[in-house]
Point group: C2
Chain length 335, copies 2
């Protein structure tokens, strides 16, 4: 079998460490992939390219169609555009899939039955990047919601639920206030839901919805929502399930897919071999499923679960009485 | 002493029940107030007034300057504007103050040390109500942030922290994406924070900030944030602290102030004498402090705490082994 070619970005901050650890594991598991490293992020930004992506990286991405990306640092300042957002939008990665599962008793959480997948619209909303200063004192940002955007993500959520045997899709919006934009999202959800009589559906206002998710996450199965709400509630689910450091995500488009951790580049702990590679590793598991190597993905996932069960924990989830040994990034990967 | 005149709206759904229960308690505690009932909400909407407020209610509000308001039902449909938002904006109620405190072991919560005050900007952001359909498929909503709006709410938060002996103010924004609008909020926060060297300050991105609030609320003291973020995180804090049914809020302007529960009108349980009046009661406690009757407010608050400690619980917080007796709205108020 010819290996599947993948564009790999080492990232900034803790990126290179967790990418190194993850690739070592994929290699040991026998993943049939060929990596092509691309430069993205800080180095590119600081070379004067405010997009953070050099032309040859674009070329490698367009050719390989699969990106495996460690977290990136975007420099402060109005001139620099978020690379994540540029990639998601330029490549049409309309769906951001974020599964979160508690691993009690191995990883501390108040919510042993948390098992939720957040399906986040990934191109529109306040992330459209349309912002301006209208007068000296008045600043505005445009929230954009389109019917095709809503249809695509809502349908994706129901298809996902069906494919993975999930029972319910919950839509979260704020359409008691944004009757036109969020109202459209809700309306499209209702329209499409009737095509899936085998899947339950419900809609909640984002304020009480995210509150209930934080208090009783076991009541949620699949959640579909707009970009910014999805950004917020996926961090909530991940953090109350153990840590944002544990979760990976898949950014899916019609031609290209990108896999990444949901957390940032954590420059404060970079280079110390203490970061948790689990988020990127779980992103790799999704990637392996996506490229038709799910048996190897399962092997990686099981090895990861076994390591956590045996109590080898990185500092972020280490807890006396639950953990057996506090390990660094590389030692965790070796286990 | 002449009694303080207050415009009182009975509200819709569970509104009349919890208002009746609350006024009974205020009366028993000796609150020196004179109530003038005004019509707001469903009845007014359905009479053809799409604002939900009749002219004579406006007059009573402008005259009394204090509104005590039970939850309102806004009818479905694009024509009807949210009354809450209309009141907040028309009356310049720029600050929405939402204290949340866990009452473990009397009220179940995973977070015994939760004690946070959320100070939410109350007029701007996506609540500006500027929304339109640009083409058949493209819908837009404008997020508005102004410098005076940011200055006013941030200063309010630091003054509040100082007045109530609180140690830290946390600002939450998404300025890695909205560099201009949320960037302004963050910038103004930093400018004003230096004027309060006695109060610690920090800024967090709303995704990880709300996740940390949900996972470790004891790390937060006062939080200041924009309107929609504040809407979401105040429901989160309230729900993980026990129930959204427990919390009241103060909407403060330069001339007028409005006090209300943070929850909605819950039409599904209306008229059954099972709703928890605690949210509205806590709003009343804030109102009493506001009108210079804080001794009576303390008395009410202590009676409420004592009732909870004795285990008289409404159905929403009832839990076997913690509660002693499940009581209805009126029986709870009588206790
Ligand atoms: C880094 C940031 C631009 C990004 C986002 O807001 O989407 C991150 O929070 C995420 O969730 O992937
Ligand atoms: C009812 C609704 C308009 C309101 C809001 O969004 O502000 C409510 O959720 C609140 O928090 O007071």
């Amino acid at each position: 079998n010819t290996p599947v070619k993948i564009a790999v970005a080492n990232g900034d901050g803790i990126g290179p460490e967790i990418m190194g650890a993850t690739l070592k594991i994929l290699n040991a598991a026998g993943a049939n992939i060929e990596t092509e490293f691309i430069d993205l992020g800080e180095k590119v930004y600081l070379s004067g390219n405010t997009s953070g992506i050099a032309p040859d990286a674009w070329e490698a991405i367009r050719k390989n169609k699969i990106i495996f990306k460690a977290p990136i640092t975007t420099p402060q300042g109005k001139g620099y555009k978020s690379l994540n957002v540029t990639l998601r939008k330029s490549l049409g990665l309309f769906a951001n899939i974020r599964p979160v599962e508690a691993l009690v008793p191995y990883v501390p959480s108040h919510f042993p039955d948390l098992d939720v997948v957040i399906i986040r619209e990934n191109e529109e909303d306040l992330y459209a990047g349309i912002e301006h200063r209208q007068t000296q004192d008045v600043y505005q940002c445009l929230k954009l919601i389109t019917r095709p955007g809503c249809e695509r993500i809502v349908r994706y959520a129901f298809e996902y639920a069906r494919a993975y045997g999930r029972k319910k899709v919950t839509c979260m919006v704020k359409d008691n206030i944004m009757k036109i934009t969020d109202g459209l999202f809700h309306k499209v959800f209702d329209e499409i839901a009737v095509e899936y009589p085998d899947i339950q559906n419900e809609t909640q206002i984002i304020d009480i919805g995210s509150a209930r998710l934080a208090a009783k996450p076991e009541n949620y199965d699949v959640i579909v929502t707009a970009n910014l709400y999805g950004d917020i509630i996926s961090d909530i689910a991940a953090e109350i399930g153990g840590s944002v450091g544990m979760c990976g995500s898949a950014n899916i488009g019609n031609n290209v897919a990108m896999f990444e951790a949901i957390h940032g580049s954590a420059p404060d702990i970079a280079g110390q071999d203490i970061a948790n590679p689990s988020g990127l590793l779980n992103a790799a598991v999704s990637m392996l499923a996506h490229i038709g190597q799910s048996a190897i993905g399962d092997k990686v996932k099981n090895a990861w679960l076994r390591t956590l069960e045996q109590g080898y924990h990185t500092a972020d989830i280490y807890k006396e009485g639950i953990s057996v040994q506090k390990v660094g990034t590389q030692a965790f990967a070796d286990q």
